[in-house]
């Protein structure tokens, strides 16, 4: 059964044996379960194929590590944890299909996962309709804990406001007042741009303009021509996944990064690794970073991750998956039940303990919108760094200090009667 857990991460049988040996050697081999113990099943819907595959796979790995740790320590309420992974292929229809399968055929107790905003929205609706808690690991669309929120949905990763506010002041102070946007034309991009606009004009800056770029654009030359003509201090890149990578490459090819600062919000460790050295630059907001000297528990976590996945370091996506599973475990323990309504109520106001939070602050799931108030790590990319030393973090910004107040999010939560 544990094979299924690891299989989702592309790990395979050989890996399982290696891990078993390694963990056994580390004295972490778990308790023996009773023959008739019903496991607590968590359904993870994440991308293993499609455009978000590399991010989804990190989330899967993080979740698998969490499940492994829980099982070594006695499981949830004395029952083993099973994370069952299904591929959403980046498509909401597929995501719902798989969710249906996990619910009706596997009788999962909870759902976690998603990278794509569309899938997270559809899964959130599905979870509410079927009365199961869904902890959204990596879908950033504001609506999820905003106008479209519901009692069953919680989110680990940030909203666009938290993300953008994480580095907007830093960028403004460091680089300048005149901004130009290059934004992917979908809800997430629009949100980021609107948020940055509000923040920057609030500091006294000016927005020179922006270009909306269709998703899946590979050739940014026309947009970059417009950007150069505008002459900004900061070229703010708010692009989706691979588009961001292409844009950054082309910016270096055109030499534009010499005349303006390139920065933005969301950027992933996995994306940086995909860039050639010349294209590694810019200031971004990370939602979690593995290298936090002086912060307790982080180094041990990284080591455990290295042991389970040799050669790999945890990215923010890994941490999202990790927190998703642990949060459910903590809430279930507090509620002394795996009933979704009780678990949801227990998760409201849940503060992540330091060994799960893995950061200086105290992230908490806010009761009013079920959003985790995680801290942001603004920083810049190391041009000459080798994996995993790809970022230099400037600062830690606690989420509670930058999140929108609950009334501003437009969320109202009602529980089923």
């Amino acid at each position: 059964m544990a094979l299924k857990t690891l299989q989702g991460g592309g790990y395979g049988r050989r890996g399982l044996l290696k891990t078993g040996a390694a963990l056994g050697a580390a004295g972490l081999a778990g308790p023996v379960w009773g023959a008739d113990t019903v496991p607590v099943k968590i359904g993870q819907i994440d991308s293993t194929t499609g455009n978000f595959a590399v991010l989804g796979q990190s989330q899967i790995k993080g979740a698998a590590l969490a499940a492994h740790e829980l099982n070594a320590a006695g499981g949830i309420l004395g029952r083993p944890v099973q994370v069952l992974v299904e591929d959403d292929a980046g498509s909401p229809a597929t995501g719902i299909d798989k969710a249906g399968r996990l619910l009706h055929q596997e009788n999962v107790d909870f759902f976690i996962g998603t990278v794509s905003s569309a899938v997270s929205l559809s899964l959130s609706q599905f979870a509410e309709a079927h009365g199961k808690v869904f902890v959204c690991s990596g879908g950033h669309v504001d609506k999820l804990t905003g106008a479209g929120c519901n009692w069953a949905t919680f989110r680990v990763c940030s909203t666009t406001w938290i993300l953008t506010d994480g580095d907007s002041k830093t960028l403004y102070d460091k680089f300048g007042k005149k901004w130009y946007f290059l934004t992917t034309d979908y809800a997430f991009g629009h949100s980021e741009q609107a948020d940055y606009t509000k923040q920057v004009t609030g500091y006294g800056g000016t927005i020179l303009g922006g270009a909306l770029v269709p998703v899946g654009t590979s050739d940014f030359s026309s947009y970059l021509i417009q950007a150069k003509a505008a002459g900004p201090d900061v070229l703010c890149l708010l692009l989706a996944g691979d588009d961001q990578i292409n844009a950054m490459k082309q910016i270096t090819q055109f030499g534009l990064n010499k005349s303006m600062a390139v920065a933005g919000a969301l950027f992933e460790l996995e994306q940086i690794a995909a860039l050639p050295e010349a294209a590694r630059y810019g200031v971004w907001t990370f939602e979690w970073y593995w290298n936090q000297p002086g912060v307790p528990h982080v180094a041990e976590f990284v080591k455990r991750y290295n042991t389970m996945y040799p050669g790999l370091y945890p990215s923010q996506r890994s941490w999202f998956g990790y927190v998703s599973v642990h949060a459910l475990a903590l809430a279930a323990k507090a509620a002394n039940s795996v009933d979704s309504v009780k678990v949801a109520k227990a998760m409201e106001g849940l503060v992540l303990p330091p060994e799960i939070a893995l950061q200086p602050g105290k992230p908490m799931f806010r009761a009013e919108d079920h959003q985790l108030l995680l801290g942001m790590f603004p920083g810049e990319v190391n041009q000459t760094g080798t994996y995993p030393h790809l970022m230099t973090i400037y600062d830690y910004v606690p989420g509670a200090s930058i999140a929108l107040s609950p009334s501003e999010t437009g969320c109202t939560i009602t529980y089923p009667s």
Binding site: A53, D185, L212, D219, I225, Q253, E270, A274
Partner: protein, 289 residues
């Protein structure tokens, strides 16, 4: 404003070169083999990944030559195993078969090389803009355009002056007759298929130099390539080249005014062409009526 349009048109030419290279390969295969090759994007991606693996050993230039040829070899195997059996059947079957092949290729690329995006290292001297006003004309993009033109010219020469080339052209017109005259059409078809795939491979390596590699990279180029063939004319290679450049430029110019419409405009052009002049700009009349 005019400058803006010129800039974007020039950009469009460069993007169009990719479409043209893909379209030429597709057109070859559609013409002689009668197959709508939905796996063309997959072969393109395969060549890119092979190039990535080869570059540490033979450098960029070596990979540029070897990867497309290797991919052509894979194309040969695929043709022998799958495509060959579908020549005499309704085009629906070859379309579905290649559709399935595209899925398999993408999955295999992801399994072997991982879902991670990968960079392809291109020679430094190509990687710079030629001037600061025309900053978007980098050496590499110019190189892509030049190579597209050169390889098409090379193909034309081959079709005109080599025996294989003449046979391919004759086969496009009337397969039965040349078979009666003693040409081995099985070999001819295989060779033609391979040639088409080699072009896809070339497009793949060049695209990787500019965009990097992902398992899904083929998906984006396959549809515009079909459009390029239809616009330029089925059965005409010069037409495919023109078609690719035209839709590239159209898309580029549309981006200057209305970026959201930059994809739709491609299909609009195709739709209009199909209604007004279905054979395309340079296509032969009644080839697929």
């Amino acid at each position: 404003m005019l400058l803006d349009i010129i800039f974007n048109a020039f950009n469009g030419l460069i993007a169009g070169s990719f479409y043209a290279l893909m379209a030429i390969g597709l057109s070859l295969i559609l013409g002689l083999n009668g197959v709508i090759n939905f796996a063309h994007g997959g072969f393109m991606a395969l060549a890119a990944y092979l190039a990535f693996t080869l570059v540490p050993y033979v450098g960029f230039w070596g990979a540029l030559v070897i990867a497309p040829l290797l991919t052509g070899g894979v194309g040969y195997i695929v043709e022998q195993l799958v495509v060959k059996r579908l020549y005499l059947r309704d085009p629906l079957y070859s379309l579905l078969a290649t559709f399935g092949l595209a899925l398999i290729i993408q999955d295999m690329l992801r399994t072997i090389w991982g879902a991670q995006g990968l960079p392809l290292a291109i020679p430094d001297f190509l990687n710079q803009p030629l001037s600061s006003t025309y900053f978007f004309v980098t050496g590499y993009r110019l190189f892509v355009m030049v190579l597209a033109v050169v390889s098409t010219a090379g193909l034309f020469a081959a079709l005109r002056f080599t025996r294989l080339g003449v046979r391919i052209r004759a086969g496009n017109k009337d397969l039965e007759t040349i078979s009666a005259v003693g040409v081995n059409i099985l070999l001819l078809r295989s060779a033609n298929f391979m040639l088409g795939i080699v072009f896809a491979g070339l497009a793949g390596v060049l695209a990787a130099g500019q965009l990097g590699l992902t398992p899904t990279m083929g998906d984006q180029l396959i549809m515009p390539s079909f459009v390029a063939i239809v616009v330029g004319g089925v059965g005409s290679l010069l037409g495919s080249l023109l078609g690719g450049l035209i839709i590239g430029v159209a898309s580029g110019i549309t981006t200057a005014f209305y970026p959201a419409g930059s994809e739709v405009v491609i299909y609009l052009i195709m739709g209009v062409m199909l209604i007004a002049r279905p054979r395309g700009l340079l296509g032969q009349e009644g080839l697929f009526e």
